[in-house]
Symmetry: C2
DNA sequence: CTGAAAGCGCTTACAG
DNA sequence: CTGAAAGCGCTTACAG
């Protein structure tokens, strides 16, 4: 297992008895080379085990590399797994190789990842920003001169291609659905008020109630960690309310799952005694017991759209910025 | 949005009034530079928006890049999603950036991905080989002179670090469990006989039966697509058997889910009228109805172990090859 | 098609 | 710390 020396184009050229320039033309698939010469050179490459150094080539020709960076929050979150699937499929199809990075919602890691991707000379970046990007980071992002598209969360004052979904509308859909079912006391469970995702859901929640002439009762809004356990805790708290709700809109499906479990522990049957609606429509939602009514946030579609935007942007730096806001969709199941 | 010219180390050096060599030492964090000079230079970098060209640096210093390739079968498969999580977390922690590629079990795509990763000068590769790697590909892989670790599937005659699980033992566990529960007619449902994963499960299935003195009944072995629908079809077929089984060992949890659904359609209650066991213990398994007894294949752990092996290999090309075979684990739930 | 030269952005080694 | 030179593996442009 000794380190073999890297075979260079020059080696190939010598071996095949042609000039380096010719060999270079051949690896790049130029049509102006005689078939015979080409075959001879290709044979030499095969024999010597030549591997094209795309990195050196890109550097010399100053072309954007065929590499793209994808920065997401957390690969353990099904929403981002789905998004990753969308991005990856679309990007591979377009011939890019993808670099993956996860921020765990830390601004510092986000900064670092952006730096590293830039250092690797990626041709573009798809960024799902952390919930609190520092001024500093935002300035950096604005300065970046390679194509960049934002997904899921927008950044203030940053003009970029963007694809996300309308959380406010999604929350409204969920709550309207519950109102139509006759519910008046509707809780909003889970999530933390610092995130913009929470704020927007809250906004939709309030709008739906207000339009229906229902007063907002702050005691029905219970924050929690974004997890199953968080959901269980939140529902526990709201059940202790002197006037408990007859329905719950949950921050996301994970939280909703915890809510379902918490209800059962208390002998309350979700879907019958109380209605529960989630958010995201992740793969597990139809498997919950009862199957969960939820709002689809189309993570995969967000991913593939973002990939497409990036591809267009790479092909034409001057095209107009595009902003795609996907409309969520209510998926009614047994839990409501 | 005009293309700015890239700021080089030389630009920084000029701006700070030092030599390029000094600037180079500073970006690499050399300790022999006076604090004052360092600060001045760092300030210039900030001001000019310098970004280090890791690619050029690696090329010049002929160091393996801090980049690693991960080639999996299909990102839509939860098993590989989990594996990806394991790899990614471990690798990011160790300071690598990861390139992701998916083969969709195609040998041609596998070849292509390996080439591209090599062309990008990755420092190492974690490969989950497709089920039928051609002789050609195998030869290529043997010739690769950068660190490479195989995961999930081994390749004949290829000496590489490897981490996988013992499918044969896993299948035995599942079937033994059913035998202990008193079952004698146990079906093996789903999967296709071409894949080594199927063959090994079948081997374990047969061994367990034989040891218990139960004759193997080929009519209870029904192949199918590896999907929910496949599972439903397979169970339908086996229910038409003149002597239907009282238990089923399924190729994986997906197939098992289809089996559960197929049973219910026929008015048969899984977990009561018939026992069902899956394979993989994916995230959904505890959510099925009834919760699924299954064999955990520790996808995430395979990923993190593979990442560790690769890291060790990169640090020391001469260390002895390691072969890690994880033992699967039976997780008993309500379906059996 | 060839051949020699210059350059992409960096590192390395060395004399000062 | 500086300065000049050489080189990583490629592409580019040009005269022949």
């Amino acid at each position: 297992m000794e380190e073999k020396k890297r075979v260079t184009l020059m080696d190939v050229a010598k071996h095949a008895g042609v000039s380096r320039a010719t060999a270079s033309l051949i690896v790049r698939g130029s049509p102006k080379i005689a078939e015979k010469t080409r075959k001879k050179v290709l044979a030499s490459m095969q024999e010597l085990g030549y591997v094209y150094d795309r990195v050196a080539a890109n550097m010399r020709s100053q072309k954007g590399s065929s590499t793209v960076g994808l920065i997401i929050t957390d690969i353990a979150n099904p929403f981002y797994t789905e998004l990753l699937r969308g991005v990856h499929n679309a990007l591979e199809e377009a011939g890019y190789d993808v670099f993956l990075g996860t921020t765990f919602d830390s601004d510092a890691r986000q900064e670092q990842l952006i730096s590293r991707m830039l250092e690797h000379r990626v041709g573009g970046i798809i960024l799902c920003p952390v919930s609190h990007s520092s001024k500093n980071t935002i300035e950096r992002i604005k300065q970046i001169d390679i194509p960049i598209v934002l997904a899921v969360r927008e950044l203030e004052n940053v003009m970029c291609d963007y694809v996300g979904i309308d959380y406010v509308a999604g929350a409204q859909m969920a709550v309207n659905h519950l109102i139509q079912k006759g519910h008046r006391r509707i809780a909003f469970l889970g999530g933390t008020s610092e995130s913009s995702a929470w704020k927007e859901r809250r906004q939709g929640y309030c709008m739906a109630l207000t339009r229906a002439g229902i007063e907002i009762d702050e005691s029905l809004i219970v924050q929690s960690a974004v997890s199953r356990d968080g959901g269980t805790e939140a529902v526990q708290r709201v059940l202790n309310n002197p006037k408990p709700p007859s329905a719950a809109f949950c921050f996301n499906d994970f939280v909703a799952h915890g809510v379902l479990q918490g209800l059962k522990v208390n002998g309350i049957e979700p879907g019958k005694d109380i209605a529960v609606v989630g958010f995201d429509n992740n793969n597990e939602a139809p498997l919950y017991n009862p199957p969960l009514t939820t709002v689809s946030s189309f993570a995969r579609l967000i991913g593939s759209q973002a990939a497409n935007l990036l591809n267009y942007r790479i092909l034409d730096q001057n095209r107009e910025k595009q902003r795609i806001i996907l409309q969520p969709e209510l998926v009614v199941r047994k839990s409501s």
